[in-house]
Symmetry: C2
Subunit: 308 residues, 2 copies
């Protein structure tokens, strides 16, 4: 028996500040149709796919950035994408900023990915857990990385959904650097992890890491895949966006940790891999049989609050 899910990673080149959502959605639809023609069941778009990576700018009044957020999904701008996907019977995963008004009237800003099944139904929406960067304007940087200003960290952690014939999880960008992200999904039997990212090549707090961005990107996704016996699909918004060069190198890894496909440009580019989800069992049921081999009795400090 095989459970093949053909997955497309739809890397995007830059989205500039003046690009409107309809123009971006048109690009997504081109890639969606391309993926359908290549037999994909699922297409994964990057983090914050609908807009430029706006945390690179500071605004005194955060509501001045509210136009970068969606307030519902689908909405007028994205409905054509939902319609076309349903017509093509292809699922997708879309990253965007979400402005949410809670029942108590409070406002919340999240960095999210929504997973949509082949029939157009929404499977789930994941909120980013590990928010990198800084909280306050740091004018000395060549550009800001104000995700901790613009986004709350998810209080929900990492879920896994039954979709596409398997167990599917999501994470966003910096989540992929933390082994806890993969493991929390691995403990729920994840077989396919979908991860969009925007990764500037320059890291101001330690520029010695700049030339290693591609190496680190591959390292964390490959090891997370292997150590949890899962496919991992990493999808970039790459290239020079508003003067900031970001890592491309969208990649798909198998549960062995092996690289199955990688983008070769830093622009709109679709890469495809046939993912046999039954491969995961070769790791989950042997070397990484968690129930047999993990040692949660000595893992206590992993969940302790920071001592400072």
């Amino acid at each position: 028996m095989t459970r093949i899910v053909t997955v497309g990673a739809a890397q995007l080149g830059p989205v500039q500040r003046d690009d409107d959502r309809r123009a971006v959605v048109d690009r997504l639809r081109v890639m969606l149709a391309d993926a359908a023609s290549q037999g994909c069941d699922l297409v994964v778009f990057p983090e914050l796919a609908l807009t430029t990576f706006f945390p690179r700018w500071y605004v005194d009044d955060i509501t001045q950035a509210d136009h970068f957020y969606e307030t519902s999904m689908p909405n007028d701008a994205t409905q054509p994408l939902f319609d076309e996907a349903r017509d093509l019977e292809i699922g997708f995963c879309l990253g965007y900023a979400l402005l949410e008004t809670a029942d108590d009237g409070s406002t919340h800003r999240w960095n999210v990915q929504t997973l949509v099944e082949r029939d157009g139904s929404i499977v789930g929406t994941f909120k980013k857990v590990h928010i990198p960067g800084h909280e306050s304007n740091e004018p000395g940087r060549p550009f800001q990385h104000l995700e901790r200003y613009y986004f709350e960290p998810s209080p929900e952690g990492f879920g896994v959904w039954d979709a596409f014939g398997g167990r599917v999880g999501m994470m966003i960008c910096n989540d992929r650097r933390w082994p806890e992200s993969y493991r929390l999904m691995g403990l729920q039997g994840v077989e396919l992890i979908l991860c969009g990212y925007n990764t500037p090549l320059h890291y101001a707090p330690d520029p010695s890491q700049d030339p290693l961005q591609g190496f680190h990107n591959q390292l964390v996704m490959s090891s997370g895949a292997y150590q949890n016996g899962t496919f991992v699909v990493g999808v970039a918004k790459g290239g020079v966006e508003e003067g900031v060069d970001s890592l491309a190198e969208s990649s798909i890894f198998g549960p062995s940790g092996e690289l199955l496909a990688r983008a070769t440009t830093n622009d709109d580019e679709l890469i495809v891999a046939e993912c046999d989800l039954d491969w995961c069992g070769q790791y989950k049921n042997t070397l990484f049989d968690f129930a047999r081999y993990r040692r949660p009795d000595v893992y206590g400090p992993l969940t302790a609050p920071p001592s400072n």
Copy 2:
């Protein structure tokens, strides 16, 4: 300021069943002297360095294998190693099987590594946490991997010690495949992790992993190093031992995850790296500032007992 620790990974070729401990200790002393002549502060020997990897055989009565265990450290056979190290003012880390009689008269069998400072004092003894393989004889295998018969899992978890001017931790073989091992030490500020291993190239439960042994070995140590901002020293007993071929590829990784040195043979071979422990801070104080960026509030399932 720099805090350089020059570390030697003293890979061993096979130790056959009939090799007595004194002959093995003579090999270790040769490598110790070589390391001293190359300016090493610390030499790391592999897992179960003093004997053959005896879990490959089953004995009905486990006490028939007791001659493979040490009952004290140092002992008559290893005292010359301790003496020579103290004379050379070089520290070492030694893996061996330990048979311990507790205060209540009960007997315990551990797979351990002992760390010795440059003045000959014992820093600490680590007991292996993640015991791989199987509990019962499985005659259908070409060779056994009965670690779960011969060794109890450590109830103590992963410690970190102040030694060699830094924060030093230990793990053994299969521990290196589990991100929890590195993280539990990372949370204690580890800067240098010492890991001996014996890794047969053939993995009976899933031979598709056989050609990937070297890739997986590098992947887990490199990612564990990067994700915790620590040096990792992996040291093999490699080559064909009693008919079983084992991975060599002893390696030293920096806190960037980069490979600093790797053995090129599968026999006795010393590799050396100058480890500036201050490099660790470039990761621990930025991208992987745990107190700032980890999310233990959503990590609860990591420590939950298996549900089955």
